[in-house]
C-alpha cells in the first residue's frame, strides 16, 4: 500500500503520520542504534590499530635486521679494504727490505771509501828544522869579536839553508794539500751516493708511514663498525644507497649491451636450432640466443670470482691459489670459445641477410636482378664490424659481475629500507583511518540525533523543567544511573600496551 494512502484521501496527513512514527521509532531505538554504531566502530578501530601496531613492530624488526645486514656488509668491505692495505704494506716492506742488504752494503762501502780517502788526506806534520840545534849552538858561543865573523857566516849559511829548506817544505806541503784536495774530491762522489741512498731510505719510510696512517684510518673505521656507532651506520647507509644506484645504472647499460648482443645472434641461431619449435610461446632459436648470452655472463662471473675481483661464490673464493688460477684459465678459455662462437654467428648473420636480399631481388626482378646485385661491389666493413662486436661484447659483459655483486650486496639493504618505510607509511595510514572511523561514528550519531530531534528536544525540555527537591534527587539519581549505564555501555577501547602485546603476538 502506498504511504500516501495510509489515511485515504489525506496524503499529507499520511506522510506526517509516517514521519512521526518513524521519528518515534528512531527515538525509542536511539540507545541501541548508538550502541551498534559504537560496537562497529570499536571493532574496526581496534583491528586497524592492531594492524598498525603490528606493521610498526614489523618495521622495527626489519630496521634492526637491516642494520645488522648493513653492518655485516660494511664489516666485510672493511675487512677487504684492510686486507688490501695489508697486502700493499707487505709488498712495500718486502720490496724495501729486499733492497736493504744491498743498500747497507753499498752504504758501508761508501763509508769505508770515504774513511780511506779521509785517512789519505790527513795532514803530515812538517819535519822539525834540523838547523835549530845549530842555532842553539851558535847562541851559546861567547860574545867576542873573534866569534862575530864566524857567527855571521854561520848565520848567513843557516839563513840560506833555512830559506832553501822552507821553499822545499812549502812545495812539498802544497803538493800534499793538492793531493789531499784531489782525494777529497774523489770522496765527494761517495758522499753523494751515500746521500742519495739515505734519501731513498727516507722516502721508503715516508711511504711506509703514509701506508700505516691509512691503515690506522681503516682500523679506526673497522672499530667503529664493530662497535656499531651511529656515525658508521650513517656512512654505510649513504655509501650503500649510492653504490646501489650507481650499480643499477651500470646494470641497465649492460642490459642494453646484452640486448644488442642478443639481436646480433638471434637470427643465425635459427640456422642451428629448429625455427619451428617454441617454448612458452618463444622461439627455441631466440631462447638459445638468450641462453648463450646468459652463459657468457655466467662464465664471466666465475672468471671475475676466480681472479678475486668479486666474492659471490665462497667455494671459488676459498680455493687454493693454484686451483683458483686453473679455474680462471678454464673460465677464460670457455669465454673465448663463446666469443669465437658469437663472432661466427655474426658472420653467419651477415651471410643470411645477404642471401635474403638476393632472394628478394630474385623474386622481384628475376635472374637479371640477381646478376646485377651479385655484380655490385660489397663492402666487408659491416661484416667485420659485426664480427668484432660479437667477439668483444661478451668480454665487456663479463665486467657486469662487479655492479652485479654491488647490487646484490646493497640491494638487500636498500630494498629492506624501502619496505620499512612502506610499513611505517601503511601503519600511519591505518592509524589515520581508525581516527577517521571514530570521527565518522560521532558524526553518524549526531546525524541520527538530528533525525529524531523533536522527541529529544521534548525530553530535554522535560528534564530541564524546575522540579521539587524530592523529585530532583530522584531525577539526579536516575541521571547518575543513566550516566553509569552509559559508561557501562560505552565500548572500551584497548590501550596501547595491550595493543602492543597483541601485535607482537
Amino acid at each position: 500500500m502506498p504511504i500516501a494512502n495510509i489515511i485515504p484521501g489525506q496524503p499529507v496527513l499520511s506522510w506526517i503520520l509516517v514521519l512521526l512514527c518513524a521519528t518515534l521509532v528512531l527515538y525509542f531505538i536511539r540507545q541501541s542504534a548508538h550502541q551498534l554504531l559504537d560496537n562497529l566502530t570499536q571493532l574496526l578501530v581496534q583491528n586497524l590499530r592492531l594492524l598498525s601496531k603490528a606493521l610498526l613492530n614489523l618495521s622495527k624488526q626489519m630496521a634492526v635486521r637491516n642494520r645488522d645486514v648493513l653492518f655485516e656488509h660494511g664489516q666485510q668491505q672493511a675487512e677487504r679494504a684492510l686486507e688490501r692495505q695489508f697486502i700493499r704494506l707487505s709488498n712495500l716492506v718486502e720490496k724495501d727490505l729486499s733492497r736493504y742488504p744491498s743498500m747497507q752494503r753499498d752504504i758501508e762501502q761508501n763509508i769505508t771509501s770515504m774513511e780511506d780517502k779521509l785517512l789519505l788526506t790527513s795532514q803530515v806534520p812538517a819535519p822539525l828544522p834540523e838547523w835549530t840545534e845549530a842555532v842553539e849552538s851558535i847562541s851559546k858561543l861567547k860574545d867576542t869579536t873573534k866569534n862575530d865573523a864566524v857567527v855571521g857566516k854561520l848565520l848567513q849559511a843557516i839563513y840560506e839553508a833555512f830559506h832553501k829548506q822552507q821553499n822545499e817544505v812549502m812545495n812539498v806541503y802544497r803538493a800534499d794539500i793538492a793531493k789531499s784536495h784531489n782525494q777529497l774530491k774523489g770522496a765527494m762522489s761517495h758522499w753523494r751516493r751515500l746521500h742519495h741512498k739515505i734519501t731513498e731510505v727516507g722516502q721508503s719510510w715516508h711511504l711506509l708511514i703514509q701506508q700505516a696512517s691509512k691503515m690506522d684510518h681503516q682500523v679506526e673505521h673497522f672499530e667503529n663498525l664493530v662497535k656499531g656507532t651511529d656515525k658508521a651506520e650513517n656512512l654505510l647507509k649513504a655509501s650503500s644507497t649510492t653504490q646501489f644506484f650507481i650499480s643499477m645504472i651500470v646494470m641497465v647499460i649492460a642490459g642494453f649491451g646484452a640486448f644488442v648482443n642478443y639481436n646480433l645472434i638471434a637470427l643465425p641461431m635459427s640456422e642451428l636450432m629448429p625455427a619451428t619449435s617454441q617454448v612458452a610461446g618463444y622461439n627455441v632459436a631466440d631462447i638459445g640466443a638468450a641462453v648463450i648470452i646468459m652463459l657468457e655472463i655466467t662464465v664471466g662471473l666465475f672468471f671475475m670470482e676466480s681472479i678475486g675481483i668479486t666474492r659471490l661464490f665462497p667455494v671459488i673464493h676459498f680455493m687454493e691459489d693454484k686451483k683458483r688460477m686453473i679455474w680462471a684459465w678454464v673460465c677464460m678459455i670457455f669465454l673465448l670459445a663463446l666469443c669465437g662462437v658469437e663472432a661466427g654467428l655474426a658472420f653467419m648473420r651477415e651471410s643470411m641477410v645477404a642471401d635474403k636480399a638476393l632472394l628478394t631481388s630474385f623474386l622481384v626482378g628475376g635472374e637479371q636482378a640477381v646478376t646485377q646485385a651479385s655484380q655490385q661491389e660489397h663492402s666487408n666493413i659491416p661484416m667485420i664490424g659485426q664480427m668484432m662486436l660479437g667477439f668483444v661484447l661478451p668480454l665487456i659483459l663479463m665486467f657486469v659481475a662487479i655492479p652485479f655483486e654491488s647490487v646484490i650486496h646493497t640491494g638487500r639493504h636498500v630494498l629492506g629500507n624501502v619496505l620499512v618505510q612502506l610499513c611505517i607509511l601503511l601503519s600511519t595510514l591505518l592509524r589515520t583511518l581508525s581516527l577517521l572511523i571514530k570521527q565518522l561514528n560521532h558524526s553518524l550519531k549526531n546525524v541520527y540525533d538530528i533525525l529524531c530531534f523533536a522527541p529529544i528536544w521534548i525530553e530535554h525540555l522535560i528534564e530541564s523543567r524546575p522540579k521539587t527537591k524530592g523529585h530532583k534527587s530522584i531525577k539526579n539519581t536516575d541521571g547518575d544511573e543513566a550516566q553509569n549505564k552509559h559508561i557501562k555501555t560505552e565500548p572500551k577501547l584497548l590501550d596501547d600496551a595491550s595493543l602492543d602485546e597483541r601485535a607482537e603476538s
Binding site: 635459427s270 640456422e271 625455427a275 619449435s277 617454441q278 642471401d355 635474403k356 630474385f362 623474386l363
Partner: protein
C-alpha cells in the same frame, strides 16, 4: 639414494622442458590458378602474388600452387608444393626452386576448356589437412565462373571447416558488364557455399593493397 634423487630431478626437469616445447603455429597456403580461356593472361599477376607470399612465408610453412582446369581434383594439377625447411638458408633455396617452377609453368601454360573450381577446392582441402598446419588458407585466383565437363558431379559439401578462403582478382566478364547482377550473384553463390562448409570468405580485387594480402 642421492644419485637416484638427482636422476629423478633431472628426468623431471627434462620432461617438463619437453612438455613445454611446442610446435610453432604454421601456415598452409594453397593457391588455385584459373587457366581457363582468356584468364591465362592474368597469370603474370598471379606470379607476383606467389613471389610476394614466397618472400613472406617462414620456415615450417607449407605452400602449394595448383591449376584449375577441366578436372582439378587431381594431384597432377599441383604445379609446385613445398614445406619450408626449418633452416632459413635451406628454405630460401626451396623458395628459389619454387619460383623457377612457377616461372616455367606460366611460360608453358595452355588454356583449359573447363573450370572445375570445386574440384580444386577439394584437392586444396585434402592437401592442407595432410600437412597438419595450424592455419589453412586457400586462395582462388579466378573469375569464379565454374564450367564443368559433362558427367562431372560437384554437388557435395566442401570439407573446409576452419579454412580461410580468399578469392583474388575476380575479374568481370563481358556478360557481367551487361548485367552486373550476374557478377554479384556469382560472388554470392561462392560466399554462401564456402561459409556453409565452415570456412571464412574474403574477396581481394585490388592486388596493390599489401595490407589486404598479408596473411
Amino acid at each position: 639414494m642421492k644419485y637416484k634423487i638427482k636422476t629423478l630431478i633431472f628426468v623431471c626437469v627434462i620432461s617438463t622442458l619437453a612438455a613445454c616445447t611446442e610446435q610453432k603455429p604454421t601456415t598452409g597456403l594453397y593457391l588455385l590458378l584459373d587457366t581457363s580461356g582468356t584468364y591465362t593472361k592474368e597469370l603474370k599477376k598471379a606470379q607476383q602474388i606467389i613471389h610476394y607470399y614466397l618472400a613472406n612465408l617462414e620456415p615450417g610453412d607449407s605452400f602449394a600452387v595448383a591449376r584449375i582446369d577441366s578436372g582439378s581434383f587431381s594431384e597432377k594439377d599441383i604445379i609446385a608444393k613445398v614445406t619450408f625447411d626449418h633452416r632459413p638458408s635451406r628454405a630460401n633455396e626451396q623458395k628459389r626452386i619454387f619460383a623457377q617452377s612457377i616461372q616455367h609453368f606460366i611460360e608453358t601454360v595452355k588454356s583449359s576448356a573447363y573450370t572445375d573450381i570445386n574440384g580444386g577446392l577439394l584437392q586444396a582441402s585434402e592437401y592442407l589437412t595432410e600437412t597438419q598446419v595450424s592455419r589453412k588458407v586457400v586462395m582462388i585466383f579466378s573469375d569464379l565462373l565454374e564450367e564443368l565437363p559433362k558427367g562431372f558431379k560437384r554437388d557435395f559439401d566442401l570439407p573446409l571447416t576452419d579454412f580461410e578462403v580468399v578469392a583474388l582478382n575476380v575479374t568481370k566478364l563481358s556478360s557481367d558488364n551487361r548485367d552486373p547482377k550476374l557478377y554479384m550473384k556469382r560472388l554470392d553463390y561462392w560466399q554462401k557455399r564456402i561459409e556453409l562448409s565452415g570456412a571464412t570468405w574474403r574477396v581481394i580485387n585490388d592486388l596493390e593493397r599489401e595490407d589486404a594480402l598479408i596473411l
